[in-house]
């Protein structure tokens, strides 16, 4: 990276602060819409970290895929299911919170201990290919990672078809093999229409 070390450290501190505060906001804020927008901020800051690591292509992919697609999808889902509802209180919430928090803190301390105590075999920074990483990724994708690359396209197709099948509303009203009418209650619970006219 051609930026001075001090600048890098300042950028890194700001980005990591945004990541941690944003992530805490995502899981702690009451309003889920704020959470979704904070999630977009976290994704953008992660893309900034990738830029600090000399990976401009992955940073661009992160912005395009996460901020442009996943986050927008999440916001759409929130708009579709965002209904004010009073959640029933669950018993022993306090002990649940306690157990989950202690599990997370234990895991965190374990991970940080491993991070700090292990001696990482760092490679020579002079060998770094630096800004050429995009070329190298292309070489990888079309030589030794060709099979995973092609399988990924099949996976995306499957995910697309699967999402459409799961989310579409109309269901078959006749059994294909027997021709008998299908019990709609099994497939879709009869309920009030979700979009009620306001008047």
């Amino acid at each position: 990276m051609s930026i001075a070390v001090t600048t890098q450290i300042i950028c890194f501190s700001i980005l990591s602060l945004v990541i941690i505060v944003g992530a805490l906001g995502v899981i702690l804020l009451e309003n889920i819409v704020y959470s979704a927008f904070l999630l977009g901020g976290v994704f953008l800051s992660v893309a900034g970290l990738y830029l600090l690591l000399n990976a401009s292509f992955v940073a661009a992919a992160q912005v395009l895929v996460y901020v442009g697609a996943v986050n927008v999808l999440i916001i759409f889902a929130i708009m579709l299911v965002n209904k004010k509802e009073d959640l029933n209180p669950i018993d022993n919430l306090r002990s649940r919170r306690f157990i989950s928090t202690s599990i997370c803190l234990t895991l965190l301390s374990l991970l940080i201990r491993v991070d700090l105590s292990n001696i990482w075999g760092l490679s020579d920074p002079n060998k770094s290919i630096g800004e050429e990483s995009t070329i190298r990724i292309g070489e990888h994708l079309f030589s030794d990672y060709l099979l995973p690359f092609e399988v990924a396209s099949v996976l995306l197709l499957m995910a697309m078809i699967g999402a459409i099948v799961l989310a579409r509303r109309d269901v078959m009203n006749k059994d294909i093999s027997t021709g008998l009418p299908v019990d709609q209650e099994l497939i879709e619970k009869s309920s009030e229409p979700l979009l009620i006219k306001k008047n």
């Binding site: 990591s16 995502v26 690591l53 895929v65 579709l80 509802e85 895991l107 920074p125 290919i129 799961l166």
Partner: protein, 106 residues
């Protein structure tokens, strides 16, 4: 302080913290959308880890960056299918409360 660059450990600690925040959110959220967001946070933590290792330990072959591309692909597919499942769940239960999705519970 005289550093040649940001230490690798700094990236690893950030990703550990992000991963643990993701797990906490996964365990404690009652809104199903927030559970999906927590999963995305955890995937991002893993990605930061892979990118840091590829930049500091494998800076000539950068296989970690290729892995990150694949993780991003799978995460996009996961988000699409997850939100579709969420929509059909909402259609059946008219709620997004995780506590009410107990059809497969004994």
């Amino acid at each position: 302080m005289n550093l040649e660059s940001i230490p690798l450990q700094a990236f690893l600690i950030i990703s550990s913290i992000l991963f643990c925040i993701g797990i906490w959110g996964l365990l404690n959220s009652r809104n199903a959308v927030r559970v999906l967001m927590s999963i995305e946070l955890m995937l991002n933590a893993v990605n930061i880890n892979l990118m840091a290792f590829s930049s500091y330990i494998d800076n000539n072959l950068i296989q970690g960056q290729v892995f990150t591309i694949f993780v991003i692909t799978v995460a996009a597919a996961e988000a699409a299918v997850g939100l579709a499942i969420l929509l059909s769940l909402y259609r059946n239960r008219v709620t997004v409360d995780m506590e009410s999705f107990n059809l497969l519970k004994w």
